[in-house]
Symmetry: D3
């Protein structure tokens, strides 16, 4: 009934739209460790920020890949958002070009790690289709 | 005549399309310190990567802002790419929402710095128009 | 009436308790650039996270200083949280030892920048008292 | 007899107090690769910094978790310091809240990695008790 | 015939000189995911930057290890450049001292990860010789 | 009389050899804020690490510049170590090529900031000579 419950519903709905049925599984693992962390992850990140329609879903996923490629180490999250980008209408070439562009901003070590993780996620996704 | 000269021409042309007449001034300052660094900045980043048309100009500028907002400290570059984003067709709201989204990827310190620098660049741009 | 308004009230209240009367001024500057960013900063960071009483106010401020000292570049935020730590009961020696400890986690460049910013904030605070 | 030997003794003693019997094993692996690195790790970090009593042991472990959670990739060290925090008197809820708080400073990718590693370390620790 | 083809040839040649026969395998894996990324990796990084003779090969490898040790997470790349450093004439002690020095610039978490990865690469290399 | 005093003497001596008469001034400012931080900066970083003769002074300064260029924000430290590199026998071209190489490891934002700071330090140094 409260705004918060609405944000949780919006967050779970946005996550499912971006990441498909795996989304729930992913956040349930987090909820088991910390319900308070689950709350901010689902309600804030996906229920509030992703609810703002100034940016469309595909653009958000490409921006997420840009951010993660600059970090290099969160390869699980890179794979999740590669699938998110494809689900939201990005092409294989767009995903790889976003990561390639990040060489200019963050150098080879992080972007090579991101690229190789993305390659795996793209191959897995194509094998499933 | 060589491919390299073409990349330099493409790079300078892409920079001007994104950043306007200030672009040349910016890279001339770099060239004065190191012509070899100027070369990779203009030819590689802007002559090769930005020449790939898989991503359009506006998307590239939003991706650049995402990367820079995760770092927080390069406030000069943030201002340059805020103007780049506006020049390539992004709205004030899109610029601010890209930066706001980065809170989820990089936290408040870097994105607050990016937001305040973007606010200045947007105000300067509007004062000039 | 809604939960959100409560979070905004809690957030502003927590910020004032930590940072004193300057808090409002600080977030008003952010609100002017982006009301949506203000919202997540006040409601989420200060209204939700800082509302959890598992950690006391002083511990939170020392943890904030630890995080910021590892980054090194957000010297404004370091100064704000040095005052926050003092307001929440930390001593000058505790503030400086938190930053010194971060050398082991993040090296000298970031912690030296943090230490010098903290030194300025501590001197300013003592001059005012 | 020299000051240095005292620092090595202090360092090993502080490490054992924080991390229990596993500490020695951990630093022996480092010593085998580089005795000079072992020296700075044991004598400086644990023999000098951790010897300063301005901060108590539990606070130091929470600060270490804050720093490591902002980095995200050093999951082995996060597990070591989760056990350290518990050994020094922190509760499961305090450990998880320190990590959750870091979302505000470093974003979700690093803190989610830290949270999941902490969850494993906490479960392992409880299984052993 | 073009300058670019020369840069690709130079890049592959420099990579082989630094990393030995494994180099080709490494970049072929990248090429399979993204030929455009392969191009910038081989031609720019190794064909242009590494072609500049102001710095000798051994110094370049030590500098690469310094950069990678400050990041901590790219352990594959650290192992590649440890072998590169040895191939270019660095001693085991020089490799380990470069990494140890980085504690002062980036702290223990990243450099300990780098040191342990380097220890493995050095042992593997010695077992092969 | 103790080992520690020797390390302080070695540290101050190494700093003066690298940075000239300005070194003392720099560490005195740090000592005024925190004598404990001064101690680890002088004794550990410069008294212990820089005392290891496996790496020569010039190589150490180039490695320091590599590390700092990957971070981008510590422009004061970059200027100090540019002077250190020149004092230890590096040429202007070597300094600039070390920074340029870091584009491959850390991207343009950090290395452009480092390059421009280095350009200023080199010009100041030449004006003084």
């Amino acid at each position: 009934m409260t705004t918060e419950r609405q944000e949780e519903k919006d967050g779970l709905h946005n996550m499912e739209r971006h990441f498909g049925p795996h989304a729930k599984e992913y956040v349930e693992a987090i909820k088991k460790v910390s319900p308070e962390y689950y709350k901010i992850n689902v309600e804030w990140a996906y229920g509030n920020i992703y609810e703002n329609k100034v940016l469309d879903d595909k653009t958000r996923e490409l921006l997420a890949l840009a951010a993660l490629s600059c970090m290099g180490y969160p390869t699980n999250q890179i794979k999740v958002h590669v699938r998110g980008a494809i689900n939201c209408g990005a092409s294989r070439d767009e995903v790889l070009e976003v990561i390639r562009m990040m060489v200019a901003y963050a150098g080879f070590p992080s972007t090579t790690n991101a690229l190789m993780a993305a390659g795996e996620a793209l191959d897995e996704h194509e094998a499933e289709s």
